[in-house]
Every structure is written in C-alpha cells, then in structure tokens.
Amino acid sequence: MEENVKKRVILHSDMNNFYASVECMLNPMLRDKCVAVAGSVDERHGIILAKNYKAKAFGVSTGEAVWQAKQKCKDLVVVPPNYDQYLKFSNLAREIYSRYTDQIEPYGMDESWLDVTGSKVFGTGYEIAEKIRKTIKFELGLTVSIGVSYNKIFAKLGSDMKKPDAITEIYSNNFREKIWNLPASELLGVGRSTEKKLEKYGIHTIGELANTDEKLLLSWFGVNGLKLKIFANGQDLSQVAKKDYIFPVKSIGHGTTTIEDLENGADVWCVMLELVQDISKKLKNHKKKASGISISIRNNQLLTKEWQCKMDMPTASPSIIASKAFELFVKRYDWKCPIRSVTLRAISLEDEDEPFQYDLFTDVSKIKKQEVLDDVVENIRTRFGKDIIKNAVLCKNIKLADKYDTGVIMPTGMIG
C-alpha cells in the first residue's frame, strides 16, 4: 500500500499572479507597468486583490488598501477586477489539464491538483508538467508554476517554491533535503496563528515539525496537529477528486461591505434582508435547509466578530432566516462602533427532504404558510427579475453597492 502511494504522480498547477496576469495578457500596454487589480475605492472595496511582479518588487502586497499600495509605488496602475475573464481563463486552463487526466481538483480559481499516475502514455510527471506549462503559455499567454510530487501537499509546496513559469519536483527520496529546511508556514495547513504557536514552541521548519512528538502536537493543536505531522512527512493519502465531482455543500454564505457605515439596527436589518435572498435561493438550488445561522460583523475599526445559533427548525425561508439572524445580532452586538460589513451564513445544512421532529409548541402551519409565500415571491423574482418584488423596507435608499454580488463561488479542495 505504502509503496503504491509513493508511486502516485500528482501535479499542482498554480497560475502566477492570476488576476494581474490576465489583465496584462488582455491589455499589452500594461505589461511594462506596475499593475494591481483592486476593488472599487468608492464602494469601499479598495483593497489589492492581485499584483504583477513589477508591483511586487515595490512591496505592494495583496490585501492592503489601494492608498497604501500607491504610497509604495506611485506609478501603480490600478485596474478593476474582471471576474468573467478570470473565470474564462480558469476554465480554459482546466480544459488543457483535462487533455492529460480526468482527476482535476480545483483549489480556488487559479490552482488545481492533477493526478497523472495513469497518464504514462503522455510521459513522466515532469514531462506532463512541462507540456502543460508550455501549452498554457502558448494558448493562453499565461505562466504557471507546477509542483510534481507523490502527494497533494508536496505538489502544492513544489508549485510555490519556484515562480514564475517553473517546475519543481519533490520525491520520496529527496523531500528531506528539499523541503525540511523551509519555514513551517510554507506547509499547507499552517496558517498565521498555527505558525505563531509553533514558533512559541521552538518549531520553525517543516523538518522540525515532521520530527515533533505526536503527543505534543495532539495536545497543542488536537487532531489537526497529527495531520500536520503526516503532511510534513509526506504521508498524506488524500485523493485528487475527479473533475466532475461535486463537493458537498457545508455552508452557504453571503456578505457585503456597505458603501457607508451602518449606524443602527434598521440599516443592518435591510442589509440582512438583502443578503438572505441570495442565501435562500442558493439553499433551494442545492435542495438544502439551514439548521443554524452564523453572522459575522466587521465594525469600522476593522474588528470582526462572529456569532452563531441554531434555528428552531430547518428552513430555507429568507424571512425566517433573516429574523433569526437579526435576533442574534440584536442580542450580541454592543453598538460601540458603526458597522462596515455584514456576512450571513446558513450552517448545519440538512437535505430538503430530511424528516424533522417538531416540538409541541411550534406553530407549524404558520411556518408552512410563510414558506409557501416565500416560494411564490421567489417564483416571481425568477420570472421577472430580482428587483420586481421586494420587502418594502428595501425600496428606500439602502447602503448597498449597486453590484455587491460577484456571483463567483470559489471551490475548495479535499485535503486530509
């Protein structure tokens, strides 16, 4: 078994500076300039989403505000995101991968794992990676870095080691020399807080993590600690999903940064009502009901707090979800600062047709009536457009950006 696992050939392809590269590819005038893709400053989404290497050289980093980036690089050209094009290029890249294997697992829009163990007819792992690299460059005008290894974790690590337009191989006979000296934070699964904690215990490299006692890791991080040790030792066995595999939906969320700070409960209620419409629609599309709701509130000091609670009964009704979310908000938020962004998430999802035991005191007929009403409203919205019918309170000038929803769903991967 172990030997077979080590014989797997897994690639991880990462499209370099994806958003910025697509922009530069589509507009050659940008190629020699420092370019960053950023959200709209007017709609208060003005943070850097991606930058090219020239901008990176000035220290421009993803996630910072546009004004901060411009202080570092005064000639920075800031372009708005163009998600349709990014999706198009992402799909075109996936079409190229599918020439070599049907096991393609996306990790975000710009990264994918490919299992090419059974694709020997096209060559070795390195040869296939080289063909993919050249094809993407020729057909799409973009560069990728590819990691070749025998497990998903090392393949991902490999794709991060040499950039751009490069291939890195990590095998079972050389991984200790190649990666054990790298900082532990390079390993997938080691985020900022895990890194801090590891440093506190004197663990700085992947090698040190790999040789840390299991019991210690278990006591520090729980089962995730054991996973990290498995990752660091190259023993991860997770499979690369087939390209048509649909990942089970665990939660459905929607959030927005408002154009002005929200100052009172009425403002928050409007935003929640608007958000919940899309959540309800997505729940119905996935044939799910929410048994719980989570709200995440970010105030104008950029401090985020999150709370969750259970619903009285599973539902996909927007009005019931919104009422519960608002009830939770009123109970928990102290209004020390105005609010900048609101995110709602339907959690603990159950199948639509899952049986449910009502208690004696719930007025089921009232809930059923509400659900029928919601369905009728949704039906009208589907037929005549989203704005044809809405809660009266949403007809006034609410503090939402015109187009606050990109409609882009980022796929997540299957690890561990």
């Binding site: 590819m25 050659p28 799409l140």
Partner: protein, 83 residues
C-alpha cells in the same frame, strides 16, 4: 512596434464536420480581402494585442497573417501605423 486589435467581419464556410473555414475578411472600411489559403489552425494566444482563441494562419495577397476566433468574434493584429 505597437499593434492594435481590429475586429473584422468574416465570410466563412461551416463544413460538414463542423469546421469553420474563413474565406473572406471584410475590413472596417468595407474592403473585402480574399483568403488565398488556410495554412494552419491551432489554439493560441495573441501576445501582441491580447486575447486568445483559435488562431487561423491565413495567406492574403501572398502575405501570411493570423486571424483569431475569440469566443464569437474574429480579430487580427495590425501595426499601429497601418493605413
């Protein structure tokens, strides 16, 4: 040398196998250019003007040019000082 992207009308043959074979290009001023010969077809990007799709290498009046089919439009790469 700077290039610009020029969208063009194309008269084409859609053959029995589903292939698209461009026959004539109608320039933006209405001038019609006959394609003498289709030399090659491949998927490719245009680094000169930006964009990607199916690239048709064609011969027009003895000169080799690229004609790109991007989604549902056709374009060519033209030098800035053309015309």
């Amino acid at each position: 040398m700077n290039y610009k992207k020029i969208y063009v009308d194309v008269i084409l043959k859609n053959d029995i196998d589903g292939n698209l074979i461009p026959l004539k290009i109608i320039w933006e001023d209405g001038e019609v250019y006959l394609i003498d010969r289709l030399l090659a077809v491949c998927k490719a990007s245009s680094l000169k003007v930006g964009g990607c799709g199916t690239r048709y290498s064609v011969r027009i009046y003895g000169k080799e040019k690229y004609l790109f089919h991007e989604e549902d439009k056709w374009f060519m790469e033209i030098k800035e000082n053309f015309n």
